[in-house]
Amino acid sequence: MENNILEVQDLSMSFFNSHGELPAVNHVSFSVKKGKTLGIVGESGCGKSMTSLCIMGLFPQPPGKIVGGQILFQGRDLTKLPAREMHKIRGKGIAMIFQEPMTSLNPVLTIGDQIMETILLHEKVTKAEAKRRALEMINLVGIPMPEKIFASCPHQLSGGMRQRAMIAMALSCEPDLLICDEPTTALDVTVQSQILSLINRLKNQLGTSVMLITHDMGVINEMADEVIVMYAGQVVEQAETAELFAHPTHPYTIGLIRAIPMLDTEVEELNVIPGSVPMLYELPEGCLFAPRCPYATDKCRSHRPEITEATPGHSVRCFRYMSGWEGE
């Protein structure tokens, strides 16, 4: 499809260890449209970060191994690409920013060095030109006094500044796709909204597509055009953002949305989803969410539901929906 920059089709990645095969990413399919933001949401350990590391080819292997499916980026299947070609795509075609700005920058190199490195690696430019572009990028991400920051080391900057520097680094070669893995989780709330609006502004300015991974439904609501909800390595619901918030269908999605703390309503205690994501070596036999699901039936506990289109553009993996239940 012309319109999609990235298409992940039926992707499965497993870890192989003494417990046997552990499916970390389980038949996942989605696509990122040109110039749009796809949000991936789910609790810790649901496979959202692993999915993004699969796209980058940076998951730990061994013990990890892609056991099925395709990752089509601009028409090329990344799972079959030789290492040499992947090096060219990382940083140039697809760039990534990570959760921990404190530890994600190399402590012994200056910010300038680290931004210039990406440019020099992927583009045939002189050092002077690379420096000029690095300064331009630092300026673009809204850091005052670019020259000073250029010569600074990561430990001299605040968390928000480091994340800005990370973004400058990631966007320095104008990638077609930017993967943001929990870009604001480690930051103060005020800094968080600054960074999110920065990502949005640059996305529009540079025409970059964004894949945003988060556990925060609020961030999804603010940023994403389309959302996939992941649970224990599977996509459980997929829809456009407005549709998902208006008609959440999977009990897990409903739980996530209910768990968003509201400032304008008085509540005794916050809503939580009881239990936690199952370990990969003790996945339940039936629907993976059944043990925590308030609506689970015997069928849910013995059979796994497939993902099905509920309304056009809105898919869900739930027996209750498939038997005519319309959510709440």
Partner: protein, 311 residues
């Protein structure tokens, strides 16, 4: 940076002074009168008293200490009781041999230690890693005098490639340098590997990979520099050890270095020589550790520039 440096230099001077104090008093309270030992058992008490006065040994102990310290600052470490030569000249002469041996052994240890350590980390859990780490265990555990004797027998006596005793020319140093450097090469390779593997797990390595950095650039520019601090610590201590002389190796190969000189001095209770030798060893160690601290700052901007913004 200059603040850090100044602090470290002052600290170093303090350490040397403290060591001089401790050395002097310990050597002066151990039983056995050096004058009686020097004059032999038939000396009259008057003669002994006279020599004691001549050597300043009848003065109060603090006066003796300050006397010794001031003289030392002027390059006068006293005269050996038994060889009647200035201690300073004797140390300097032995230092020449020890330094040459140390240089060869250390270069060997660094080149092989770092290369093997990096290779083992890059090929973690592969055949090369297992082979190199097996070798390094052998290197760390084999006593160096045993390695020395094996080298002498095989390369010296059987193959006749290198001389096995003395220090007349550079080729005399080959076998002792190998015997001395092996265990340091082994320990440097182990710490390099461990440190590199630790760094490989860090988030910034993943960031570098995500930028498209790969191969040796990833290993050397991103991993190695970050892995260097523990390596520099170990390698620095090793340099201190090597430069202060290896008694065993110098004895096995009959090299008149600091180690051999010190052992002889201790056996003869040659007080000025022992004191001078200890001061030499202390000073070398303090200088090396100072250099190590400066190197830390060169490698790691967090030390050089001090803490910046946090949070």
């Amino acid at each position: 940076m200059s603040r850090y440096l100044l602090g470290r230099v002052l600290q170093a001077i303090g350490v040397v002074l403290a060591i001089s104090l401790i050395t002097f008093f310990i050597l002066n309270v151990i039983p056995g009168d050096p004058v009686e030992l020097m004059m032999g058992e038939f000396a009259t008490p008057e003669a002994i008293a006279q020599v004691r006065a001549q050597m300043g040994l009848d003065k109060p102990i603090f006066a003796q200490y300050f006397n010794w310290l001031t003289n030392m600052l002027h390059g006068d470490f006293g005269v050996s009781y038994f060889q009647h030569k200035p201690v300073f000249d004797m140390l300097l002469n032995s230092f020449g041999y020890t330094a040459r041996l140390a240089l060869f052994a250390y270069v060997l240890a660094l080149v092989f230690g770092l290369t093997f350590g990096i290779l083992a980390a890059v090929f973690h859990n592969k055949f090369i890693d297992r082979l190199l780490m097996t070798l390094s265990i052998a290197g760390v555990s084999a006593p160096n005098f045993w390695v020395a004797i094996i080298l002498q027998i095989y390369f010296g006596l059987t193959l006749k490639w290198f001389p096995i005793s003395g220090a007349k020319d550079w080729n005399y140093y080959v076998l002792p340098a190998i015997a001395l450097g092996t265990r340091y090469a082994a320990s440097i390779s182990r710490i390099t590997r461990t440190s590199m593997l630790e760094v490989t797990k860090q988030d910034y390595m993943r960031t570098a990979s995500a930028k498209g950095v790969h191969g040796w650039m990833l290993v050397m520019k991103h991993a190695f520099r970050n892995a260097l601090i523990p390596v520099v610590t170990v390698a620095g201590t090793d340099l201190g050890n090597i430069l202060t002389g290896s008694m065993l190796i110098e004895t096995v190969f009959t090299i008149d270095g600091i180690g051999k000189l010190m052992v002889d001095a201790i056996n003869q209770r040659d007080l000025p020589l022992v004191q001078g030798g200890v001061m030499y060893i202390a000073t070398i160690c303090v200088i090396i550790y100072l250099l190590v601290d400066i190197l830390y700052a060169v490698i790691d901007p967090r030390i050089r520039l001090g803490g910046g913004a946090e949070g």
